[in-house]
């Protein structure tokens, strides 16, 4: 961990809002600059989606003298996930409490990342999930991303709100809790398809409003990181 400049935690209090999808694309976006070293850590013990989304399903991890070696998608983008330890896609991971915690600690402690500019950690949902929690333990909050925010019909181009922001969505929440809203990413069917294929959505649909939203959000994250000392938390909310 000493060799990591900026650690970004991607959190949410709700399952299925897009933490993995967002984290993967944050990693892709940051790693587009060859001079930036990016690490993506997936500690979702029970539902490790990151290998699939990054197109690394079936890859094996190895232990060296200095710890677990991450799987490198690019020279400057390394990925680590418990998913790499499962031998078959049907394998169920049934961990009881202490074993689970021990596994997480081992992952965090023993991965040999090398020199990293950004470490993106896809957090477990059930622990540090709330903005209030972050405030309580003094974790700085980079901001909130509202995912699945609106859908433009490919046929008639009209917009619909599928997941209605009946209580004002992230915008109101951010105002209430005084945290920055980094941006809103709309639904695009190509996002799911890219994740299923293990490819970057940015390459698949460079002109999509979702891509533009991502780029703007990533830029704000980079700016936020450069303004502060290492260790910031990024909340993903929907």
């Amino acid at each position: 961990m000493k060799t990591v400049k900026h650690k970004i935690l991607v959190l949410s209090g709700k399952g299925g809002v897009g933490k993995s999808t967002f984290s993967a694309h944050l990693a892709h976006g940051l790693a587009e600059d060859e001079n930036t070293q990016v690490a993506l850590l997936d500690i979702d013990i029970c539902g490790p989606s990151i290998p699939k989304i990054m197109g690394l399903e079936g890859e094996q991890v190895h232990q060296s003298g200095s710890g677990w070696s991450p799987v490198f998608l690019e020279d400057n983008l390394g990925v680590m996930s418990v998913g790499f330890l499962l031998s078959s896609p049907d394998d169920a991971v049934i961990w009881r409490g202490p074993k689970k915690n021990g596994m997480i600690k081992q992952f965090l402690r023993d991965v040999d990342w090398g020199e990293v500019d950004y470490l993106i950690e896809v957090s477990l949902q059930d622990v540090r999930k709330e903005i209030n929690f972050c405030h309580k333990v003094k974790l700085p909050i980079i901001g909130v991303v509202e995912n699945m925010s609106g859908f433009t019909c490919p046929k008639c181009q009209k917009e619909s709100q599928i997941f209605l922001p009946t209580t004002g969505g992230a915008e109101v929440m951010c105002q209430d809790l005084k945290v920055p809203l980094l941006g809103k990413v709309p639904l695009d069917p190509r996002i799911g398809k890219s994740c299923d294929k293990g490819e970057s959505f940015f390459a698949e649909a460079p002109d999509s409003p979702a891509t533009l939203a991502y780029r703007s959000i990533i830029q704000r994250i980079q700016e936020s990181c450069s303004l502060r000392q290492p260790k910031g938390e990024n909340l993903v909310g929907s």
Binding site: G47, P89, V93, I94, I131
Partner: protein, 208 residues
């Protein structure tokens, strides 16, 4: 014996993937069963995001214990749907829930109901819940997924879990299967297609 003795059928709603719609489907299923004249109990053991109280418009209701255990909240005047949710135990909507291992085996019992639906948390494989319910012979598990491969990838592990612990799978439900544009009626598969059916076939369980 015990509070589940009056419950005729127990259904577990599982997934293995967060956000696929377990709470939504459980709620809709409860409403549909009520419409068919059944008495339904819902046990929302989603320890980390108990959504069902809000869906049935009973968020914020107080619950109390009597001699025989927790008294569930009736969501309607006819008292055909009763709900017990860990959400009732949270005082404020912004409160975070952090449970340490042993506490998760709480005393939630749905009381006298014909059908009991449990919305089980996604990312946690709750051996404890299955073990606690085993003496009452649950009907089985309703497994929810969305169509895309990333969801299916998680849910197949849940199906393995069911097999391993001897929990019968009633079938697979594919949620969020396409979106019909309200303006032009074009159907778009936002979260891909086909995954649920394929998953059911692969696991040898009914595709509901």
């Amino acid at each position: 014996p015990g509070n589940l003795a009056g419950v005729r059928h127990i259904i577990l709603v599982l997934s293995g993937k967060g956000g696929v719609g377990k709470s939504t489907i459980s709620t809709e299923l409860a409403l549909a069963l009520r419409h068919a004249g059944k008495k339904v109990g819902i046990l929302d053991v989603d320890l980390c995001g108990p959504s069902i109280p809000r869906m049935l418009r009973v968020q914020g209701k107080a619950v109390h214990q009597c001699d025989s255990g927790w008294v569930p909240v009736f969501v309607d005047q006819e008292q055909s749907i009763s709900l017990m949710s860990v959400g009732f135990l949270l005082e404020k909507p912004d409160e975070a829930v952090v449970w340490r291992g042993p506490k998760k085996n709480g005393n939630d019992r749905p009381g006298d109901s014909t059908v009991s639906l449990l919305a089980s948390p996604a990312a946690l494989l709750h051996m404890a819940v299955v073990d606690a319910l085993r003496p009452y012979s649950p009907l089985g598990a309703l497994v929810v997924t969305t169509p895309q491969a990333v969801s299916v990838g998680d849910v197949r592990r849940e199906l393995t879990f069911c097999k391993k612990v001897g929990l019968r799978v009633i079938g697979v439900v594919e949620n969020m299967s396409g979106f019909v544009c309200p303006h032009c009626a074009e159907c778009t598969n936002i979260f891909s297609r086909g995954g649920g059916e394929e998953l059911a076939r692969h696991a040898g369980v009914p595709f509901l």
